[in-house]
Symmetry: C2
DNA sequence: AATAAAACTGACGGGTCAGTCATTATAAAA
DNA sequence: TTTTATAATGACTGACCCGTCAGTTTTATT
């Protein structure tokens, strides 16, 4: 008979993770001490280790959280009828996420995780696995587009998917560095990237898509 | 009356930097101790601090080295007569660099530096400054292309430059992670990106360019 | 109210590491 | 050969930090 419910336990866990996220974002993973997380979260040193076996555990948990929310975006884009619209939607959704102030810490910690995954197998697995989900989502949209004749058959789905993801990764970097990225301009360039994949029939679809530069609500600002 | 010449001093410095690069690549910046660099370089603990005032100094020096070699690629591309050819050359040169085994350590440490620049103003300045050089090189090529009528006038030079750089940054990441990146496919996608910027007159230039998929020597393998 | 199982606490131990400095080595000059 | 200024050394130190554990608190159950 445990004293706290699963919900309470999960709340505590999130309380610690949120504090860790703020610390990692502010000071970096290696310059954050467990004492910092204790201060920021309000739980005791010992409690930290009731919920996570090691500091690295927290990074992995944060990465997994991030990938879970990305999976949601993928599902949203897959639900589009038109695969080309789906691609544009995916780009738009991720584009919006690039500058959401709410996710500033997540982006900064995400970049840290990219570096950490060079030396930690666990973080590497998490990061690469998360990327694979997005890559497959994009690849499937492209294959659907090729089946409908909207996307040129000689396009390599995986190569394009990797390149699109690479572009977003780079933009995340630049935004995290505080660079004055003009996301409108970058969005246009990425729309052009998609446009270059299309057959003549597909170009009609692209022209008709309201996913970019909608009149009421600019998409990539 | 110094006991060693400037050349000797520079050699020692490079000896230390080369060792630091190997250590940082293998274990990451924060998991590399000065003792590791001592072991790898063969100099003593004290000598380290005759050449660098702090461990961070070494990271900055490595970043500056990297940017210097990138500046060389920029100059090479700028020397092309045709600006569109120049863009393709720039992409090809950086594309080749993506997989050169000789630069494996530099790429891995570069990714570390991207994360470090989130918390160290000095590294931030170095990394962002290095990127600005490449961005200006690309921006100038695009502006030249617009003056010659090869590139559509409504294209935003800086936005495209940022997006192209972002794509390369993402590919560097993925390659550093050991992902099986098909650089041929990514190269085709990036060529399409450039193609989407061109006017109809410019497309002739692109079609005639041997920069990609040359018969004898594949460019992005 | 008494009990007991689970959650929580925080001081502390064992270990690590960046940077220093008193000493030694080296080589050019006298 | 002696002198002297610079280079190199490596043992040392003071600070720091992760993870633990013996003891305390909380709360469901009896």
């Amino acid at each position: 008979m445990p004293k706290i419910s699963d919900a309470q336990r999960e709340t505590r866990r999130q309380q610690i993770l949120a504090a860790a996220l703020r610390c990692f974002s502010r000071d970096g993973f290696h310059n954050t001490t467990t004492a910092d997380i204790v201060r920021e979260s309000g739980v005791s040193q010992g409690t930290l280790y009731l919920y996570f076996t090691t500091k690295e555990d927290m990074v992995v948990a944060l990465a997994d959280d991030r990938h879970q929310s990305e999976a949601f975006l993928n599902a949203l884009a897959q639900s589009e009828q038109d695969p080309v619209r789906g691609l544009l939607t995916l780009i738009e959704l991720h584009g919006r996420g690039l500058t959401e102030p709410r996710r500033l810490d997540a982006r900064r910690v995400g970049v840290q995780g990219w570096a950490e995954s060079l030396r930690s197998p666990r973080i590497h697995a998490s990061v690469v696995g998360g990327m694979a989900l997005v890559r497959e989502a994009i690849g499937q949209l492209i294959q659907r587009g090729q089946r409908t004749g909207q996307i040129r058959p000689e396009v390599d789905p995986d190569g394009v998917a990797r390149t699109l993801i690479a572009t977003f990764q780079g933009l995340v970097l630049q935004v995290a560095w505080g660079e004055p990225v003009d996301l409108h301009a970058c969005g246009r360039t990425m729309r052009d990237m998609i446009g270059a994949l299309l057959t003549d029939a597909g170009k009609l679809t692209l022209a008709a898509s309201p996913a970019f530069d909608p009149p009421a609500e600019p998409s990539l600002d």
